[in-house]
């Protein structure tokens, strides 16, 4: 499986095809053209960035000259999926074709361009004589990802004075400017030349030839210095192909180790991925062993380890959840536990009475409450109605869901009720089947995830950002793919993170996934690594089908209830170990996984994104602090601001 993309990096295939496509965007209209292309004016086509040897070209091709893959299938089938392929464009077999008599392609050498000007969805091309030669109109998108791709290859830089102006680097000029001393000698030295072509994409390999001239040094090397992507592939292979046969893994590993490619891999940032097997769940017998005579639970850390490795036997799940969600406390004796439960029980019904005794008039005058109530009523009616516990008309459990959520509104009016929260509560009530206990367990869960429900979505955005950072480190190849396909906003993970994969796994699996995540093992934010593992597993599908943002989103949504939890957990744990055993673990990743930063900025890979990374890191560190502060303050009864 991984051979398919390694092959395409060989020099042979490059010689065959000549041009390396590094970007495409469909639905681009030429709204200004040179006279030679008057026929193409206002024609819809696809814009490409190609690389040939060490030169780059921007080429627009009318739709007729572009193969639209999957169009036939779409024609016959009404399946919602088949249509997606239509918007996957591939250059026709011969990249530049005159077979079509109607419209010609329009290719411009990047070296002829002085700068790009952006105006809304238009991209203007200004040549070195300062003449405006072409305008591309991005009909269904913006020129942003086009420019980002050029920037990724260090071919363009945004003007400091005019944010709509992008200056193309002049290779001739750069040549003069760069003295040998400025070149990054370390990187050149560390590159063991002959092995490289096997490790990277063709264009990266080739870019090395001209890197010192074109000023692409840092970026291209950055990727080359990360054959982690390659090794990662091996890891993926291991994980996906030999789930149940570890001897095979070893064989495979040995095989790979023997090849000369991997020598290079060895001193790379990401070590090989080792499979982590799931264990059996915590049993009643084990649980009883941890119980002292007076009812305390000894060694909660050990219990959590067992749970992390294998979940909890369904027969004692309800008992253990109460501990994991801070309803019962590990150190309490039976008597203390009873006492606490009784207090919490009373406390729950005290708060419940606060809303259940509101008069109609009070409710009418209390829009903040009314709005929350209205949303709750709508949502409980459509929460897990397919499982028996919540099935049928006039279901009492649906009412209990509603009551608990309304009481939570009274408990924490600021968080109130937001869509998604009913999804988080439903499995708890199902399992505990006790209103007050379920409420407090839900409170315990919400303490972990309340930022998901921020009014301004800051908590969600922050997590998507962390997801992006982890992806960049854990799977640079897929990250780069996302980046060049307008998908590095990671929005397709939104549903996953908002309700902790509630919609992605079956009801039974969700119980296990959540208890695993509640252990906080092996690190905080392990739920993000679950997402990384899922995406990692889909990488081939994304890349080979050339999915863009839309298709990735659809694909990800359609994984719902089709994934094997065991495999996902194993992969996530493997990735975790791969990351933390990396020799160059940057602080921005360490912080996400709950490790102390070691050397602020010192181990950052040099790149044009440095500023961005610094800023992001500062923001992240700040957010962590804020998280903590808010966590501490959130449940204080004294919060009185009303954000309506």
């Amino acid at each position: 499986m991984n051979s398919s993309w390694i092959e395409e990096t060989t020099v042979d295939s490059l010689e065959l095809y000549g041009d390396e496509e590094i970007f495409n965007q469909f639905d681009v209209i030429l709204t200004r053209v040179p006279a030679s292309h008057i026929n193409e004016l206002n024609t819809v086509g696809v814009i490409f960035i190609f690389k040939r040897q060490d030169s780059y070209f921007i080429e627009w091709k009318p739709n007729e000259n572009v193969e639209i893959s999957g169009a036939e299938i779409a024609e016959e089938s009404t399946d919602e999926w088949s249509i997606i392929n239509q918007i996957t464009f591939k250059p026709a077999a011969n990249p530049i074709s005159f077979l079509s008599p109607k419209f010609k392609n329009l290719r411009v050498a990047l070296s002829d361009i002085k700068h790009f000007k952006v105006h809304d969805s238009e991209l203007q091309l200004i040549n070195r004589e300062s003449q405006h030669i072409v305008t591309y109109m991005f009909k269904r998108s913006t020129p942003a990802s086009f420019l980002r791709t050029l920037s990724l290859y260090r071919l363009q830089k945004q003007s400091l004075n005019d944010k709509n102006l992008y200056v193309v680097k002049d290779p001739e000029f750069e040549k003069l400017q760069k003295s040998f001393a400025e070149l990054n000698i370390e990187e050149i030295k560390s590159s063991k030349g002959p092995n490289r072509p096997f490790l990277v994409h063709g264009y990266e390999f080739l870019s090395q030839i001209g890197k010192n001239v074109l000023g692409t040094t840092t970026r291209s090397n950055r990727f080359q210095d990360r054959p982690g992507a390659f090794k990662f592939e091996i890891g993926t292979e291991t994980v996906s192909n030999s789930k149940d046969s570890s001897p095979e893994i070893d064989n495979q590993k040995n095989e790979v180790d023997m090849s000369e490619k991997v020598e290079e891999v060895k001193d790379d940032r990401l070590p090989a991925r080792e499979i982590r097997k799931r264990d059996s769940p915590l049993t009643l017998k084990q649980w009883m062993e941890f119980r002292t005579e007076d009812g305390r639970i000894s060694d909660p850390d050990r219990i959590k380890e067992v749970i992390f490795r294998g979940g909890i036997d369904p027969s004692l799940r309800a008992d253990v959840w109460k501990y994991l969600l801070n309803y019962d406390l590990w150190e309490h004796t039976t008597a203390e536990r009873e006492e606490r439960r009784k207090n919490l029980h009373d406390e729950y019904y005290r708060m419940k009475a606060q809303w259940s005794t509101l008069s109609k008039l009070q409710e009418r005058n209390f829009s903040g409450y009314r709005d929350r109530k209205c949303q709750i009523e709508k949502d409980v009616k459509r929460t897990d109605r397919n499982i028996e516990f919540y099935n049928g008309d006039e279901n009492e459990n649906v009412n209990r869901l509603q009551d608990i959520l309304l009481t939570y509104v009274m408990y924490n009016f600021d968080v109130g009720y937001v869509q998604g929260m009913s999804d988080l509560l439903s499995p708890i009530l199902y399992l505990l089947d006790d209103e007050a206990a379920s409420f407090w367990c839900f409170v315990g869960f919400m303490e972990r995830v309340f930022r998901n429900f921020d009014e301004d979505q800051a908590g969600m955005k922050n997590q998507l950002g962390k997801m992006r950072t982890l992806m960049e480190f854990a799977n640079p190849r897929l990250f780069r793919y996302f980046k060049t396909h307008d998908s590095d906003n990671m929005y397709f993970c939104f549903r996953w993170l908002l309700v902790w994969y509630k919609r992605e796994f079956t009801h039974e699996d969700i119980l296990e996934l959540w208890e695993v995540l509640w252990t906080n093992l092996p690190c905080i934010n392990f739920h993000l690594l679950i997402g990384i593992a899922i995406l990692d597993n889909e990488m081939t599908t994304f890349i080979e089908n050339e999915y863009g943002f839309t298709e990735i989103l659809k694909h990800v949504n359609d994984l719902s209830e089709r994934m094997n939890l065991k495999q996902v957990l194993e992969a996530a744990e493997s990735i975790y170990h791969q990351i933390i055993n990396s020799k160059r673990l940057p602080d921005r990743v360490r912080v996400i996984l709950g490790m102390d930063p070691v050397n602020a900025y010192g181990d950052e890979p040099a790149s044009e994104d440095e500023e961005e990374i610094k800023m992001r890191k500062q923001m992240e560190l700040k957010e962590e602090d804020e998280d903590q502060m808010r966590f501490e303050n959130s449940c204080d009864a004294g919060l009185e601001q009303n954000y309506f």
Partner: protein, 207 residues
């Protein structure tokens, strides 16, 4: 037929929570109604091929979460929309009152090229229910005041008016596409030296 250019129309369905966005989409695409749709989280879409004015077009219909705060991520999904469908519940006046803000929010986030002429369609859903509280007249008046937005009263449950509404949506979306092309035709054509004949030869471009 095989050589005909394919058109993809992107349609966004917006409206308050629980007005029936997911149900309308599924009724139209899959001819199905279910009581068991969950609240939409994030965004999803379905596609359907339809024939409009003799052309085969693909509609990509986007369904979004209804609670207001989730709209701040909407921009990623609204981009490139060809038509926006505003849905309200004919039994819930608030959902009708909010149409204004849904429309405004869409125009801000999607920033279409031609906001005044961007095609919207309004659907008053759940007409199968008895406790109707937004009159046809009131809805029509609002639609007229907004540049004559087409208005349909639908029942996703019974499948009433759903097909005809989406036919209009497709038609207007397609018209929007075509218009977009027309409005760009006024640009002057300039002749320049960079007459790069895009020949696939190996004559090594100047680098």
């Amino acid at each position: 037929m095989a050589t005909r250019k394919k058109v993809l129309l992107k349609v966004i369905i917006l409206g308050d929570s629980s007005v029936g966005k997911t149900s309308l989409m599924n009724q139209y695409v899959n001819k199905r109604f279910s009581n068991q749709y969950k609240a939409t989280i994030g965004a999803d879409f379905l596609t359907k091929e339809v024939v409009v004015d003799d052309r085969v077009v693909t509609m990509q219909i986007w369904d979004t979460a209804g609670q207001e705060r989730f709209q701040s991520l909407g921009v990623a999904f609204y981009r490139g929309a060809d038509c926006c469908v505003l849905v309200f519940d004919t039994t819930a006046p608030n959902t009708f009152k909010n149409l204004d803000s849904w429309r405004d929010e869409f125009l801000i986030q999607a920033s279409p090229r031609n906001p005044e002429h961007f095609p919207f369609v309004v659907l008053g859903n759940k007409i199968d229910l008895e406790n109707r509280s937004v009159s046809t007249k009131r809805a029509q008046q609002w639609c007229q005041s907004k540049n004559d937005i087409p208005y349909f009263e639908t029942s996703a449950k019974e499948g009433i008016n759903v097909d005809i509404a989406f036919q209009t949506i497709a038609k207007n979306a397609l018209a929007q596409e075509t218009e977009d092309l027309d409005t760009t035709s006024g640009f002057p054509n300039i002749t320049l030296n960079a007459d790069n004949n895009p020949r696939p030869s190996n004559d090594g471009c100047q680098c």
